[in-house]
């Protein structure tokens, strides 16, 4: 922490840089809606069982509607994970660029 060459002012300058602001806002634009979505999607399962137990117990094909919904949570989790992993490559590039530039400026 303290042994790092970058001091307080430089952290603040960095935080104000347009590249950094773009990085964090892009990340936030993915992470916040995705988090809200998965929590709501997940809680919809127990809540809908509580509100409409009859409907959720109804057979649909070989399984109950509740069971299909539960299985869809697996698909949801894997799809959101894949989407994030793909999107995060862009964040990695932006972060690497900032890191690289900062290291050079400090040394130079």
């Amino acid at each position: 922490m303290s042994h790092h060459p970058i001091d307080q002012e430089m952290w603040e300058t960095l935080a104000e840089e347009p590249e950094f602001r773009t990085l964090t806002s892009q990340r936030r634009r993915f992470v916040i809606p995705a988090t809200i979505f998965f929590i709501v999607y997940y809680l919809t399962l127990p809540v809908s069982i509580a509100i409409a137990p009859q409907f959720m117990s109804r057979q649909w094909g070989a399984l109950s509607i509740a069971y299909w919904f539960a299985l869809s949570q697996f698909a949801m989790a894997w799809l959101l994970m894949a989407a994030y992993v793909i999107r995060a490559r862009k964040f990695d590039l932006a972060a690497a660029k900032l890191r690289h530039r900062e290291m050079h400026e400090v040394r130079g």
Binding site: R27, T35, I39, P46, I49, A66
Partner: protein
């Protein structure tokens, strides 16, 4: 059936001890001991997270719950997988970039001061000890059930001893490999059982599900594939929602899972490891459906016995008052042990049905290995929290050389091991299942609000962190100790899991504390944490 089981278990122990000897060379520095020099690859770490996470509760507990309650048991599987999205989106990468050895490092990055670090360290120690006792008591039960000649205290002692050996000699590197081996064994077991179950139905999913839906259930109203067998009525619904919240947020605050992100070289590797863990854990949890429903159809619920202890029985009676009479007479007949109701043994019994005694021995040995890998992960977490947070930062104020701190870390592993063994043996005839719920509730209510606000809210202050952790911890403890699990029919707090109350309490405490006690230093350090967490600039290498 127990001799092959012992042989297979001995093979597991032999291999893991060889790994420990090999790894012991890497534990000459703190960085080596706590983080395996941050050289674990992303994919390896994904396997290790899987091994750290899939406890005996997941393997034996969930399959047993599904065998008896069908869909309602599967709800646990869903929650435990979805929980990883919170880990992936919110904590894995920032933690890797901003932390060093422990969760407390991240929190005290901008919330400097002894109280914050002490509280974060104590919460880590409490969570790991609760979790460890629950696991070890479980191991005693399983082993003495599968191999009646081995008394519970011996099984608990063996788990404790092995865990101390892996951790104190082999550090994080040995622990990681024990977890990877265990995850591989567990997934192979789940795959074998799934394929064998399906083979009994001519590999036809329709036939399999049809047979499962024809299994007679306790209520007779609904079948195993529909909800309502475990979580009954309005109370059940609230229980399910509260449990779901605690599972989903709690995982992101479990210190032994968070600790794994310090072992990888970069934030990118941390992300890769969560992605792999989500695939592996998800496949395993899908298989729990086949194993649980397979046990219900092929073994038959009436053959799946379980020993129930007084505390569990009282909790059960409180929930199922119609069966109280029968249960009470069974209690009186058999002392504390009630041989009714499934639970833990569905998986080994199914294995016996499908593959004879050899397969059931294998499954039993894997279950025991699973417990050991989980407690080893917990022990190294407890050891780092004490040695790094309490000893190095608080007692010694950052002084002292590498040798001293390594000695303390190893000694803590031994002390934690002995303490856990003694407590587990002392508590073995009580119901300790609530300790897992308590660990998740404390993680979700005391740790998660503070971690998230430290990373995202400029005005978050030391006072806020202290108030948040105390509120989350206090409300979780109070609610669990007055819940039906502990007090049975006389419960004051109606739900089994406090999440729905204690998580908001943790956040409210953190908000209120920050507004009452503002903190200029924490505000000034916010940018440093933010930049470092997002870019990895200045991250530990």
């Amino acid at each position: 059936m127990h001799e092959p089981s012992l042989v297979m278990f001995a093979v597991f122990v032999a291999i893991t001890l060889i790994v420990t000897v090999w790894a012991s060379g890497s534990t000459t520095t703190r960085k080596g001991f706590y983080t395996a020099h941050r050289r674990i690859g992303g994919i390896q770490n994904g396997w290790a997270i899987t091994g750290d996470y899939l406890s005996a509760a997941s393997f034996l507990g969930i399959t047993g719950l599904i065998a008896f309650y069908g869909f309602d048991g599967f709800m646990y599987s869903v929650g435990w997988l979805v929980a990883y999205l919170a880990v992936l989106f919110l904590v894995a990468e920032p933690l890797r970039n901003a932390g060093k050895y422990t969760m407390a490092d991240l929190i005290s990055f901008r919330l400097r001061g002894r109280t914050v670090r002490a509280l974060a360290g104590v919460s880590t120690l409490a969570i790991t000890l609760f979790y460890m006792i629950a696991q070890m008591v479980g191991s005693g039960l399983i082993v003495s059930w599968l191999i009646p000649q081995v008394p519970e205290w011996l099984a608990i002692g063996v788990v404790g001893m092995l865990m101390v050996i892996y951790v104190s000699f082999g550090g994080m590197l040995a622990t990681t490999w024990v977890q990877i081996i265990k995850a591989g064994l567990l997934l192979i077991t789940a795959a074998i059982l799934t394929v064998l179950v399906l083979s009994r139905f001519g590999f036809s999913l329709t036939h399999f599900l049809h047979a499962a839906s024809a299994v007679p259930t306790s209520t007779g109203v609904t079948n195993l594939l529909a909800p309502g067998l475990y979580f009954k009525g309005t109370q059940g619904a609230w229980n399910m929602i509260s449990l779901g919240l605690a599972l989903v947020l709690g995982t992101a605050g479990l210190p032994h899972i968070l600790m794994r992100f310090f072992t990888v070289p970069s934030a990118k590797a941390a992300r890769t490891s969560v992605a792999w863990a989500m695939v592996l854990v998800g496949v395993f949890y899908l298989a729990t459906s086949f194993i649980g429903l397979g046990a219900a159809t092929l073994v038959g619920q009436q053959h799946i016995g379980q020993r129930m202890y007084a505390g569990q029985a009282i909790g059960y009676i409180a929930k199922h008052s119609s069966e109280a009479q029968a249960l009470n007479s069974q209690l009186a007949h058999n002392g504390f042990i009630v041989p009714i109701l499934n639970n833990n043994l569905a998986a080994p019994l199914l294995a016996g049905e499908l593959g004879g005694s050899l397969l059931s021995s294998f499954v039993a040995a894997v279950a025991f290995a699973a417990i050991i890998a989980v407690v080893a992960g917990l022990a190294i977490t407890a050891s780092s929290a004490f040695a790094h947070d309490i000893w190095f930062n608080l007692v010694r104020d950052g002084e002292g050389d590498e040798r001293e701190h390594l000695f303390i870390a190893r000694a803590t592993a031994v002390v934690v091991g002995v303490l856990a063994v003694v407590l587990s043996i002392a508590l073995r005839s009580y119901n300790v299942a609530f300790l897992v719920g308590l660990a998740f509730a404390v993680a979700a209510s005391a740790n998660v609000p503070v971690i998230l606000l430290a990373l995202s809210w400029r005005r978050f202050s030391r006072g806020g962190a202290i108030a948040g952790m105390l509120c989350g911890l206090g409300v979780s403890l109070a609610a669990i100790l007055t819940s039906p699990i502990v007090l049975g029919a006389h419960a004051i707090f109606p739900l089994e899991n406090p999440g729905i109350v204690s998580i908001p309490a943790g956040f409210l405490g953190a908000f209120a504390g920050s507004l009452i006690w503002p903190d200029a230093e924490a505000e000034a350090l916010f940018d440093r944490l933010r930049v470092r967490a997002a870019t990895g600039l200045g991250a530990e290498v």
